[in-house]
């Protein structure tokens, strides 16, 4: 009889903390049995500014999720973002010295260790090592073991983070009495959910525009080629509107959700949008044109930064499947058109796969946390196959998923 596990996926985001609880059986299937969320007020731009309030929000969300699941979480997968996340490419290489120049598992191991051995700046810590394939004597190969060659290289995309900030996140979960099984940066979580295998093979960019940050991940040949974080998100649109129209942030947020569009259109000129919209006395009206201009300027700039970051990777030839947008801001009307014009690649707004049935969970805000569960399922499968891996500590464990 297989033993099922209760797994919790926790996303500590700038807008809210979302916790999903799923029951997993040997990594074969999972049922989402509980959800809890709370508005997060202690974070800006994806980073914690008030630890105690983030902690309270997270605990409230976990509590609500456990209550709705009617069960206690046993394993925790955590995702977060923030501008302190960095990524870089670093290859490891080794010479093949064995008899007959046949690559052995030891050679591979040596190359991999070589790639991972780059010393980081003090205070930085590796979050993920993502293997990007092997190169044997200048030719890319899928699996080098037992092939002939003299020089083996292994490509890696490394993700690093500020150790203190990672520890803060983990401490928040530990504070509830839970250990963190694994950490996945949020772009990898949402990316693995939204992009299909076919898209990952041909090349696709998943852009998650959240409240505080914009996270992106670029896939090609089924591998993560690049990840990154731009510390600009929906909060910036709100802030721009609040300063530009001189209204309070809360009202600006509301106005953004109701009226902001990513492109300026002809008919905007004559449209007026009420600030509160409840026909109350003293409600002021704002020009749709101004709202859209401000929103357009901010989002266009965001896409330009993205384009500059990725350079030649972001062209029609290199990215046939284009861009998948997700995150709360992707609900902005016309954002797809803006992205398509600015980035010059096909753009779609992400859809959760069909196995996500619950209509609310299909909203783009849940892509990260669902992706986190999706990753957890794979991880549990690995554990089921390889039980000695068991409960490892997060620092050594963290890098497990993407090897």
């Amino acid at each position: 009889m297989s033993r099922s596990k209760i797994v919790g996926a926790i996303e500590i985001g700038t807008s809210k903390v979302v916790v999903l609880v799923a029951e997993m059986a040997d990594g074969r299937s999972m049922n989402i049995i509980g959800r809890g969320q709370s508005t997060n007020i202690g974070m800006k731009k994806g980073e914690i500014v008030d630890l105690s309030s983030v902690s309270d929000c997270t605990h409230a969300a976990i509590m609500a999720a456990e209550k709705s699941a009617g069960n206690q979480i046993q394993h925790v997968y955590l995702s977060f973002s923030g501008s302190h996340l960095r990524g870089f490419r670093h290859a490891g290489a080794t010479a093949i010295t064995g008899s007959g120049n046949v690559v052995t598992a030891t050679d591979v191991q040596r190359a991999v260790e070589n790639a991972k051995s780059k010393v980081l700046d003090p205070g930085q810590v590796y979050i993920h090592h993502i293997r990007n394939g092997f190169v044997l004597d200048g030719h890319p190969v899928e699996s080098p073991v037992s092939r002939q060659g003299s020089h083996l290289e292994v490509q890696y995309w490394h993700v690093t983070a500020d150790e203190k900030k990672v520890k803060d996140h983990i401490m928040v979960v530990n504070g509830f009495g839970l250990d963190v099984n694994d950490i996945v940066i949020s772009c990898l979580a949402s990316g693995s959910l939204l992009a299909t295998e076919a898209e990952k093979k041909q090349g696709v960019l998943v852009v998650d525009i959240g409240k505080g940050t914009t996270d992106y991940v670029l896939y090609r040949g089924r591998r993560v080629v690049q990840t990154g974080v731009i510390p600009v998100g929906g909060d910036h649109v709100t802030n721009d509107l609040s300063l530009g129209l001189r209204v309070k942030s809360k009202l600006a947020e509301n106005l953004k959700l109701r009226a902001a569009r990513a492109m300026v259109q002809k008919e905007d000129r004559n449209e007026k949008v009420p600030l509160v919209g409840d026909l109350s006395i003293g409600d002021s009206f704002h020009s749709q044109l101004s709202i859209n201009k401000i929103t357009h300027a901010r989002l266009e700039e965001l896409f330009i930064i993205l384009k500059n970051r990725l350079g030649s990777l972001l062209t029609r030839q290199n990215l046939p499947c284009g861009v998948i947008l997700t995150g709360g801001v992707s609900k902005t009307p016309l954002i797809g058109d803006l992205a398509e014009v600015t980035l010059d690649v096909p753009v779609v707004v992400g859809q959760s796969p069909d196995w996500v049935r619950h209509s609310e969970l299909r909203e783009p805000e849940y892509a990260t946390v669902l992706g986190l569960l999706y990753n957890a399922l794979y991880d549990q499968k690995e554990e089921a196959v390889n039980p000695k891996a068991g409960q490892r500590k997060w620092l050594s464990k963290m890098t497990g998923l993407f090897n």
């Binding site: 731009k45 910036h236 942030s249 002021s284 401000i294 300027a297 700039e301």
Partner: protein
């Protein structure tokens, strides 16, 4: 054969000019406040600088230790003050225009120090400035502005006169008393308080003077100053910071940041300046490394779009000390990125007593036609870029290619937003 460089038809009045091309600098104090400021500078003893004081009030002039004192408008005011009448001040200057012309003739650089708001300063100084420019001098004016409490009439008079000065002078550095006196603590005597205002003028004059005359490591000479300030009519940004001892560079940068003159609401953004001059004055022990680091820090902070002139000079008495001076001009007032202060549109002109800083903002608004038109259109902005971060006020800067991404995009790109 005629020798090159020899001009027989030279104006006989130009004879006073030094033949070897040495710079002639004149500091002219106009009116009571201007005279006081010049008196104080006299104690400084700057070489190669001529001091002149001009007033309509004989009493003020006779109290001044400056040798070259000129009584203006003998026939208009009979040696008494103008009694706060700008028209009288202007008439006095126009009546003696030939004498004034003689005062500024052949001078390369004229500093006009004048307190605006009174009669002589507000009336005569613009006339003098126009005259000096037409005589080919580079004219830089330092103009203390009256307290808001001195009454709206006086402030309005000062504001109008400032506009005139801006039109004629190559650079006008206005020093609102309200702002400067904020630095003075309550126990200071009146004498000390006014010495503070004069100190700023002295600092300004001295830093420009030392830029021109002290040995330059990286030289900013008169010509570069001239080309930087080529056209009259712009707004001027001026600031200075001082540091000494071990962390002299950090101290100087901090002090520069705190310089009240950089916090004028009209000063706008440094990135908007057309041309920025940065000068360091240090002792003979100043190292090239210090200069480089300072330049890096300053240009990163204030880097302007078009051009940056950097200078570093040595002052023998500046051992273990450092002074950073920045000066820039914003030429076209029609520039869409020239920001009007926030409260400008909503404050009635003769508002009663208000807290000093706010009032400084209200009377310092650039009142050119373009600015007025901008206000009319409903565009608005904030006096300092740092204050445009709203939600992100207390978070780290979000730098991307030199721009702070937390500041609204439309502001950084200068997109006009109409408000209903």
């Amino acid at each position: 054969m005629e020798q090159p460089g020899f001009f027989p038809e030279q104006d006989p009045l130009m004879d006073g000019q030094m033949p070897d091309g040495t710079l002639r600098i004149k500091i002219i104090g106009v009116g009571g406040a201007g005279t006081n400021a010049v008196d104080r500078i006299k104690l400084e003893d700057l070489e190669q600088v001529h001091l002149t004081v001009i007033d309509t009030d004989n009493q003020v002039l006779s109290a001044s230790p400056v040798e070259e004192a000129y009584l203006l408008g003998r026939n208009v005011t009979n040696g008494k003050s103008t009694g706060g009448s700008v028209d009288k001040g202007r008439m006095a200057a126009e009546a003696d225009i030939e004498d004034l012309r003689r005062i500024v003739r052949g001078v390369d650089l004229v500093f006009i120090l004048t307190g605006l708001g009174g009669g002589t300063g507000s009336g005569a100084a613009p006339v003098l400035a126009e005259l000096a420019v037409s005589e080919g001098a580079l004219v830089i004016a330092f103009t203390p502005m009256p307290f808001q409490r001195e009454g709206s009439i006086r402030c309005e008079r000062a504001r109008k006169s400032l506009e005139l000065m801006r039109k004629y002078c190559h650079a006008v550095i206005s020093l609102p008393n309200d702002l400067i006196f904020k630095q003075v603590d309550d126990s200071a005597t009146l004498m000390e308080a006014f010495a503070m205002a004069d100190k700023w003028i002295k600092l300004g004059v001295h830093s420009i003077w030392s830029m021109l005359f002290n040995t330059g490591l990286i030289n900013v000479d008169f010509s570069s100053l001239q080309s930087a300030l080529a056209e009259p009519g712009g707004r001027t940004i001026f600031g200075t910071g001082y540091g000494k001892g071990e962390n002299l560079l950090d101290q100087a940068l901090q002090d520069l940041e705190k310089c009240p003159l950089l916090h004028l609401p009209e000063a706008g953004y440094f990135r908007d300046t057309d041309q920025l001059i940065i000068n360091l004055t240090g002792g003979p022990d100043m190292t090239m490394a210090t200069v480089n680091r300072a330049m890096d820090a300053v240009s990163e902070k204030f880097g302007c779009r078009n051009s940056l002139i950097m200078g570093a000079s040595i002052d023998g008495s500046f051992y273990n000390q450092l002074r950073i001076t920045v000066m820039g001009t914003v030429r076209s007032t029609a520039n869409t990125k020239a920001y009007a202060p926030v409260p400008a549109a909503s404050i009635p002109p003769n508002r009663p007593v208000a807290p000093p800083l706010k009032s400084a903002e209200s009377f310092e608004e650039p009142a050119s036609a373009a600015a007025a038109a901008r206000r009319h259109q409903g565009e608005f902005a904030f006096p300092r870029q740092e204050e445009n971060r709203g939600l992100f006020e207390r978070t780290q800067q979000n730098l991307y290619e030199g721009e702070d991404l937390d500041i609204p995009t439309y502001l950084r790109r200068g997109i006009k937003i109409l408000r209903s």
